[in-house]
Amino acid sequence: MRKISQWFLVAGLVCTFGFVVSARAQEEAKQFPVASKTLKNGMKVLVQSDHSIPNVALYIFYRIGSRNEHPGTTGLSHFFEHMMFNGAKKYGPGELDKVMEANGGENNAYTTQNTTVYQDWFPRSALPLIFDIEADRIQYLQFDPKKIASEREVVASERRLRTDNDNGGLLDEQLWATAFVAHPYQWPVVGWMSDIEHWTMEDLKHHFEMGYSPNNATMVVVGDVTSEEIFQLCEKYIEPIPTHAPPPPVTTVEPDQLGERRLVVRKPAELPLLEIGYHVPQTNNPDFYALNVLQTVLVHGESSRMYQRLVDKDQIALNVGMGADTAFDPTLLVVNAQPKQSVDPVSCEKAIYEELDKAKTTLISDQELEKAKNIRLVQFYQQMRTISGRANTIGTYEVFFGDYTRLFDAAKNYSAVTKEDVQRVAKKYFGANNRTVATLIPDNEEKANQ
């Protein structure tokens, strides 16, 4: 299904893992050369030519997401993402999708806590049309009250799909709301239902003005194009768009967590659920690489420590995972497990803590370290082998690490990670005081009484 704003997470994308020598890094950079230009209005444009298929992936990353919202207007960035498909000046309501499809193209978008990303996939023949559409909607978005009313319902349906009728989504929302007391990461990207129902036209207009300035965006184009033609199209369609002030900086800093927090969600369910969130630094922190190696050792594949322990040996969980979103501000690394039926989530919790403690008290093995680096190399090629994967990866590095070339430093940075680094980050971030524990407990009595 489309226009599926994946407001939950883009995680995984940047979680590529370590590798050996810096010669490899240079090789990777050479294999995927990128041309870069900053337009006069401040928008940075990155182009990577690849003529193996006659198609193009064009991604625009706006540095605005739910962290730029406030109580009462939560979910506005995501709602806005939806409105960007609902009509501007030249392409009126419903026309954007119609015209794009009639020219063989399609589009989507996703919103996170940090960014709103628009994606176009199309045959090269549609290139000028796509620029015309993008320029139109950045400058001349319509705010039709009827359209807004109907789109509110669409977003409410999306929220029911992914949160209210999805136990994992529901528990995750509660986890973030509990782990953060000050910083905006505490509210859901989709927004609280009551905010979805109540934000006003003024809220919307203000948000548009704040977030959608060209100097707040990065465009990435990958596929059957040349950088010259893309820069020319940008000069014609994008460069004339005036610049204005980007969103004000988010100054709230989440205070240190000084003790374990616990929460319980009780509702009708077949099985319980468990999530444990630990505060970790933002993506561009140097500990990123060691944390990813640790994460690989703990949960990647059936040879991983936690799979072996919880799923295979103790047989108390159906699966166990771990991940962090790419983030501008300190965020959460979340461990999740699906306990088996009649298993008390507490026993999963205990096994998870024991595995984390092992990583704190003893070094991981040479073989585990090498495995993590091998996995990172394969993931690099897996995400770089499609034009859309490359557009997303290049843009993610540019936005979250401040420079797309950091993508090609990743190999070097992972190869620098030592077993001692992994132990150090395990000790630093996986303390009891730093965690928030969320469990969903099936409450089927309640159901009968309803």
Partner: protein, 471 residues
Amino acid sequence: MRTIKTACKVVGLLGLATALAAASVAQTLKLPPHEKVVLKNGLTLLLMEKHGVPIVSFYAVVKAGSAAEPADQAGLAGITAGLLRKGTEKRTAQQFATDLDFIGASFGADSDFDYTAVSAEFLTKDVDRGLDLFSDALLHANFPQAEVDKLLAQSVDGVKAAKDQADAVIFSYYNGYLYGTHPYARPGGDELSLKKIQRAAVLKFYQTNFVPSNTILAVAGEFNAAELKKKLEEAFGSWPGKPSPVVNIPPPTPVKGKRLLLVDKPDATQTYFAIGNIGITANDPDRVAIRVVNTAFGGTFASILNTALRIDSGYTYGANSFFQNEKAAGPFAIYSFTKSETTVPAIDLALKVLEDLHKNGLTAAQLDTAKKYIKGQFPPQIETSGQLASRIVISEFYGLDDNEINQLEERIGAVTLESAKQIIEKRFPRDNMVFVLIGKASEIGPAVKKYAEKQDERKISEPGFWPPPSK
């Protein structure tokens, strides 16, 4: 779960930019060349070099899926697939996992209606180790009792976990309700059928079906085909030949009249619904025309269905329709969801757009858009070695050929408003259909009775999907 597929390649796209006269454009979609070899033991090998990224993708199809299971062993094919990596003659499950993960490789095995797919992906430099792992699982699985017990227990709980999410199970109910006693009713099994499966049945299913003449293996990616062929012959040449089993899948009978199954999920605030009937086979002579018409009706964001149910009315986050093409006729369904209060208006609207499709057919613009959309969005579907390997193997399995891609544009171009009209009349349901709804029965039950003369109801917490287990 299968490994993630992506990737592809399309050759020769000269001047598509300027040649906008789409209908008269020369053939531009083309499958890269590949080689087919049949070994003495009957194994079919397909090899396709695809350079640019140092990855090799393996994709094998064993011609036995859920439809080949004994009727009381639903889920057997999936369990057999899941156990392939859980112990072989030379590796324990843990050793297999350790060897696989060390090279960053992925491995997947799962069953579908008609076949079991086994796939793997790894870097070109690791091809020897990857091939050893892949062939070890496919040829030498030995199904340790402890692993059988473990996977069965996990799978039973997996069904329960899925039931906590209506959209994860609606098609298990739908297929059961639509197909009744036909083998396509039960892909995957349920909490009760999985409990009945014994190791002996798994072993028998494996020994009968996992034989070379019943298997097609495609390998695509960065390698030298001549060299790799030798390695494949070495790895698979000694696989003992045996007669292929015969799987007879009877043609399913479309539902007559209207029937409705309401699955009660008391905590649901949204109703999930699927509406349709038996669809088409994978090699149906009208398959391309059907694809074009369905693309316009419910296959894209701006499709007729999504425009009505989402864009114009705001009833839902999404509505679509699909034909699932199988060896025997697979299901056709319209699928959407909406808050409990708008269940009836949303279903009414879905039925109205279906009725309008029958009355009015497509407009010239809708037909043209569907054609351009399919063509324009096709190249990224054959962009990676994994996508290519699975595509050529599945094509071979269904007895289709490269013209499925190489003549796609021509075949799409041949669809006219008139032929579309006939397709709609013949292939899209109008008076005969099933409705499957998951939602809060106490709120929506009385109102949805109007859709069908025959109604059934189950609680989602009751084990099984459909039909209800016999006591």
